[in-house]
Amino acid sequence: MATDERNPDALLPLTPAVFHILLALADSEQHGYSIMQEIKQQSQGKLRIGPTTLYRSIKHMLADGLITESEERPDPREDDERRRYYRLTAFGQQVARAEAARLSATLSVVRTKSLFHGLSLDITNA
């Protein structure tokens, strides 16, 4: 996949909503409601974004070139035709990786602080 010339770090830090939308779209393209469901599942219900926040975030992400609207549609008989599907762009993937690296670096600092000793901060591989 072609890489974008823009600097992904320029968009960091991402808001939790934007980062989770990127995560939800990491594996496959999805429509709005399934993105919401995925975010709820990813965060074990701790982050719930409503339809307005979702589409306000999507609006900004489209403008920043992080995601794009997918032209492929499922069979209209099996799907609500009002739905729109979104997928990550190459730049969106770079930004998601950069944000993950930033969070990982922050977590490394957290591990060195005595305040957090005893907390389970291990990242388990799924």
Partner: protein, 201 residues
């Protein structure tokens, strides 16, 4: 298949809240946002019935309201700060006059007689209506939503005064407010038709 009444009602309320947002957002994302909201309602209804849908109202309605107001703010309409300032002064007017004597003296000196007082009420609500039309242009073609918003403001004002001061509801003031609100709507409609005539020529 017809949706349950609670979902239809919820979608109407949500659509009304989205109407507070800028035209640009509504035309591009309004239907999708509403469609996702409807799916949330259907899920909640399947799981917990009417109670489940009602439980969604506080979080999703407040989220929509704040989201649309932020979107409006980002459109940087110059009328927005004027609307906010006037609302903050007008709604708790009697209470503000009682606790801030300079403010009260100024207004009571301008609107000293009963007639001036009525004119003041009508004029302030007319200005408020015009500012609302400038800040939320979509309301220009939605007289019911406009009337509902303004009635909520009037009732809010009365409620604040009832709680803060033992004043009876003044029906003449209410009538003056309604005249002001209708006046603003007439001004906007006349202005719109004048604009249409100019563009037709």
């Amino acid at each position: 298949m017809r949706s349950p009444w609670i979902i239809i009602l919820s979608c109407h309320c949500y659509r009304w809240l989205l109407a507070l947002g800028p035209e640009e957002f509504r035309s591009e994302y309004g239907e999708q946002t509403l469609q996702v909201f409807e799916e949330c309602c259907r899920d909640a209804y399947q799981n917990s019935g009417i109670r489940g849908v009602l439980a969604l109202w506080p979080s999703l309605f407040s989220e929509a309201l704040t989201g649309m107001l932020i979107e409006q703010g980002q459109q940087s309409r110059p009328w927005w700060p004027c609307l906010l300032a006037l609302t903050l002064i007008l709604i708790p007017f009697y209470w503000l006059s009682a606790v801030w004597s300079n403010f009260g003296n100024l207004f009571y000196s301008i609107f000293a007689t009963t007639t001036e007082h009525k004119i003041g009420h009508a004029a302030l609500f007319c200005i408020l209506g015009l500012l609302i039309f400038q800040s939320f242009p979509s309301l220009r073609n939605r007289p019911l939503s406009y009337s509902a918003s303004m009635l909520c403001m009037i009732l809010g004002e009365e409620l604040i005064h009832k709680v803060r001061l033992p004043l009876p509801i003044n029906q003449t003031d209410l009538l003056s407010d309604l005249i002001g609100i209708c006046g603003a709507y007439l001004v906007i409609k006349l202005w719109q038709s004048a604009q249409q005539r100019v563009s037709a020529n």
